[in-house]
């Protein structure tokens, strides 16, 4: 079963059991709906108020009692746009088996794989054991995917587990439900769906609780007893029966709603799915790429065997130092130091040189001067000498006793000590890694010494894995930040679509009352919303994947490529009082012949440039679009220009790099647009550049309004300067070219505060030029 509606509007709101209960009026209901787990609402409510983000997902009964209600349908897909709840068959439960046919997606699949497909007895044992016996530290489940952690926690004296997937970034609580010290069910609560469903879900849970409360007020004779879980379930189901009987009209579907919105819903559902896929893909690709590249770079800096020497080590340490700094910064290390051991000598005591370090060394090392740590030869065990440090079978115990200032108690802070094979530049090294007490896997676990050595196969591996961890964490942060922006960008459009629906399409009467013009505008806005969402998706997709092969075709640039932007940005232009300016459209214009290029890619290119222009224009300005052949160039390429008036865009090549954004840019951006535009231009055998020209040291659209203000609230020196600049700009024609004309419906009338606050912002004319050969190499242009 798939959800096709978004914004989500359930076709029914029902109790799980109602659907298949003989005689139930809801038995015939099909399609998406909210399946409410009301029978545990009393528990849910309490728990929901104890945690931040309650979401009921599933319950089952470790005790074997059928606390689940029945439905033949096993799977309700968890969609990011809606909140669904899967149901189990009571027959499965009563027979002591969990449903093994349950198909879950995304994060849910992870714990589904963990919990499902096992017999109920196995799950009982596993979960109850986890709840009762897990120490206060992490344990992990590794199923071929990134490691997910379970942690035992307590809120309001209630013990539960949190399930935390660091890669996918979700967390949920696993709560055993007790009635009279018996576990009657396990409830998962957390943010398995997007966080912004919190209010909705909280309201729903609260609503359930209120209904139950109301029921027992109406039926004081029926006290909420906890005799057996089954009694409890039956009582609460009765509440739902009552409620459903009284509220049939509220839970049934609205056919008119469906008829008018089917297309919207399907499109949005597709987009949502695509977004989720894209997010997952992006994460993996990006992290793999970043980590892989950096590791490869690091490997190249490593000396090749058997070459050694000071120079190789210096190179190595330089990178190690970076790694250590990163570790201390990004993780919960208190200190981390790496020591090098010189070749064995009989003349001097062995010394450990600190060749790299980060963070603060333990105080007890302070006396050693930080540069050198002497082994206390006097502390050598009987029958050992300093050469034992280099004996793989003995080095750990020798070091343990001989490191200056280190007592056996300190070993709690040292998880790793590694001494490699002498004479090899990469392995004649000791590493001590200090963990903070909270860090999982600390020496509190008393791991055997042999384990430590086996854990560290070589120094190289340690460095590379540390580097990977840091890079992965950094990449996660970066990709999270970008995904947040992506969600935001898409979110603005989907909420716009929702507004369109709610404001105009919610019932047939609304639609019938629309004028032809209004209906036309709405239709264009609808298309624009969808178009922009697809373009955003594609731009993100291209930032990871290769561009598709250029498939050139001749098309008329103005009609097919540029003109549509008036419609696509109608709403933003209206809000910001912008005006798009294009030359008159004439298919016979010799200056503007057909463009030969890949229509889809060039559309993407124009989108990125126009989007850039809309974002960074001042209110009340014009955006000029043109695409003509450049007769000044012997090859006469097409020259697409997008010109806007607003904030500066410095002439820096780095702006065309992936994920780069201009300094002080006032709006969110993915840092993909210009990079992608360049990539597309190059793929067509063309080029891209931009020219920022400071045309005024004032905010152009505010200059005239400033002069109209009373002298008493303005600065006379500024007035004079503005007047002078205004005269110059008018003479040059720049003023009229830049500003929305006074006759326009979109004329900008700034408020006093805006004029006074923003008048000193300089205005730049930023023009982006894209050159595309008339017939690209390998193209099919005639």
């Amino acid at each position: 079963m798939r959800f096709t509606h978004w914004p989500f509007r359930p076709l029914h709101i029902t109790n799980d059991g109602e659907k298949s209960r003989v005689g139930s009026p809801l038995r015939k209901l099909t399609g998406p709906g909210i399946i409410s787990n009301n029978y545990l609402a009393a528990f849910q409510t309490e728990i929901a108020h104890s945690i931040d983000r309650p979401t009921t997902l599933i319950e089952f009964s470790p005790s074997g009692e059928p606390i689940r209600t029945d439905s033949p349908l096993l799977t309700f897909r968890i969609h990011p746009a809606c909140s669904l709840f899967r149901v189990f068959s009571s027959s499965h439960l009563s027979s002591g088996e969990l449903c093994s046919g349950c198909i879950c997606i995304n994060s849910d699949a992870r714990h589904a794989r963990f919990f499902y497909g096992q017999t109920q007895a196995q799950i009982d044992a596993q979960l109850l054991s986890a709840v009762k016996n897990v120490p206060d530290s992490f344990f992990t489940i590794y199923d071929g995917e990134p490691v997910c952690g379970f942690e035992r926690r307590t809120i309001n004296k209630r013990t539960f587990l949190t399930y935390d997937c660091p890669l996918l970034g979700f967390r949920e609580g696993v709560f055993p439900i007790y009635v009279e010290d018996r576990v009657v069910g396990v409830l998962f609560a957390g943010e398995i769906v997007l966080q912004d469903k919190v209010d909705f879900i909280r309201d729903r849970i609260r609503g359930s609780a209120e209904r139950i409360s109301a029921y027992f007020k109406q039926h004081p004779d029926q006290q909420l007893s906890v005799g057996t879980p089954r009694d409890l379930v039956i009582q609460i189901l009765n509440v739902n029966d009552l409620w459903l009987q009284d509220n049939q009209d509220k839970v049934m579907s609205d056919e008119a709603y469906r008829a008018h919105l089917e297309k919207t819903c399907q499109e949005i559902a597709r987009l949502e799915e695509r977004l989720e896929e894209e997010l997952t893909h992006q994460r993996r690709q990006y992290i793999n790429e970043r980590v892989g590249t950096r590791i490869e770079q690091f490997r190249k800096t490593l000396p090749q065997e058997p070459v050694g020497g000071r120079q190789a080590l210096d190179l190595l340490w330089r990178d190690v130092e970076k790694v250590l700094s990163g570790l201390v910064k990004d993780f919960s290390f208190k200190y981390l130091s790496v020591f090098g051991i010189p070749k064995p000598t009989t003349k001097t005591a062995p010394r450990l040189h600190i060749v790299a370090r980060a963070g603060d060394l333990p105080k007890r090392f302070a006396g050693s001067g930080y540069e050198t740590i002497y082994l206390r030869l006097s502390a050598l065990p009987d029958g050992k000498n300093h050469g034992s440090v280099y004996n793989p079978s003995e080095h750990y115990s020798v070091l343990k006793k001989c490191l200056d200032g280190v007592s056996p108690d300190d070993l709690g802070d040292f998880s790793l000590v590694r001494v490699g094979v002498p004479l090899h530049p990469l392995s004649s090294i000791a590493i001590l890694v200090g963990y903070s007490e909270k860090y999982p896997g600390s020496a509190k676990e008393n791991r055997p010494l042999g384990d430590l050595d086996r854990t560290l196969q070589s120094f190289n591996t340690l460095v590379v894995s540390s580097l990977s961890a840091i890079l992965a964490a950094t990449s996660e942060q970066e990709i999270d930040s970008r995904m947040r922006i992506l969600r935001h960008e898409v979110g603005q459009l989907t909420v716009g679509l929702d507004a369109l629906r709610v404001c105009y399409l919610n019932n047939p009467e609304d639609i019938r009352s629309l004028t032809e013009k209004k209906a036309g505008d709405l239709a264009r806005d609808f298309e624009a919303y969808l178009k922009l969402v697809y373009l955003i998706f594609d731009s993100v997709k291209y930032s990871i994947d290769e561009l598709p092969k250029v498939n050139p075709e001749p098309f008329l640039a103005f009609r097919e490529l540029l003109f549509k932007w008036k419609d696509i940005y109608r709403l933003e232009a209206k809000k910001k009082c912008l005006e798009f300016c294009l030359p008159e459209i004439d298919s016979g214009d010799p200056e503007r012949p057909r463009v030969h290029g890949d229509l889809n890619l060039l559309e993407q290119l124009v989108y990125n440039l126009v989007n850039n222009a809309v974002k960074y224009s001042y209110r009340g300005t014009r955006i000029h679009l043109d695409c003509a052949i450049d007769r000044g160039d012997p090859s006469m390429p097409h020259r697409l220009t997008v010109t806007n008036y607003g904030v500066d865009m410095p002439e820096e090549d780095r702006l065309y790099d992936l994920f780069q954004r201009g300094a002080n840019t006032p709006e969110d951006g993915l840092g993909i647009g210009l990079w992608l535009a360049k990539k597309i231009a190059l793929a067509h055998g063309g080029s891209i550049r931009h020219t920022p020209i400071l045309i005024s040291s004032f905010n152009l659209p505010l200059m005239e309004p400033y002069l109209r203000l009373p002298m008493s609230i303005t600065d006379s020196a500024i007035r004079d300067q503005i007047q002078e600049e205004l005269n110059r700009l008018r003479l040059s024609g720049e003023y009229d070219a830049a500003l929305t004309p006074s006759s326009s419906d979109n004329r900008y009338n700034p408020l006093l505060r805006e004029v006074l606050n923003a008048i000193s912002q300089p205005t730049y004319c930023v023009r982006i030029h894209v050159r595309i050969p008339q017939a690209p190499k390998g193209g099919t242009a005639k």
């Binding site: 989500f8 509007r9 469903k197």
Partner: protein, 145 residues
């Protein structure tokens, strides 16, 4: 009833503004903090009965210190509300709706006690966020009578 609607995206605000006007509300559509502050300062002449505020927008119009608190613009709307609206008139909280994509970040950085009474509506939601917004405005209008 007059509604101050602070939202910098036309794709979000224009249709909602039209709908609110159709429903009989007087809407002051603000593009940025300067616009919003102008409307707020004029409330003696034109009382504001309800505020709908987006969080993420350029911080132009805020002071340097205030800008630093906006988390790069993500909480601009909130900083303006806190520093300029709620400080002057704490009762406005119950007439304020924060309509934003960034409520998770907001809750992470702002104590619940600071925005007690303010309604928060996420823009991306499993239900219709706009429907919820309109209902909320209606409720504020009814309570204001």
């Amino acid at each position: 009833m007059t509604i101050l609607f602070l939202e910098d995206r036309g794709s979000v605000s224009i249709h909602i503004t039209e709908k609110l006007e159709q429903d009989g509300y007087d809407v002051v559509s603000a593009y940025n903090i300067n616009d919003a502050q102008s409307a707020w300062e004029s409330r003696k002449e034109k009382p504001i009965d309800c505020l709908i505020v987006d969080l993420n927008m350029p911080a132009d119009g805020l002071s340097g210190r205030e800008k630093e608190e906006t988390k790069g613009g993500l909480l601009t709307g909130w900083i303006w509300l806190r520093e300029h609206v709620f400080k002057e008139d704490p009762d406005t909280k119950t007439k304020t709706v924060i309509f934003s994509e960034y409520l998770d970040l907001f809750r992470m950085h702002v104590l619940e006690s600071e925005y007690e009474g303010v309604v928060t509506i996420p823009k991306r939601a499993p239900y219709s966020p706009v429907e919820k917004l309109l209902k909320c405005v209606k409720k504020i209008a009814l309570e204001g009578r």
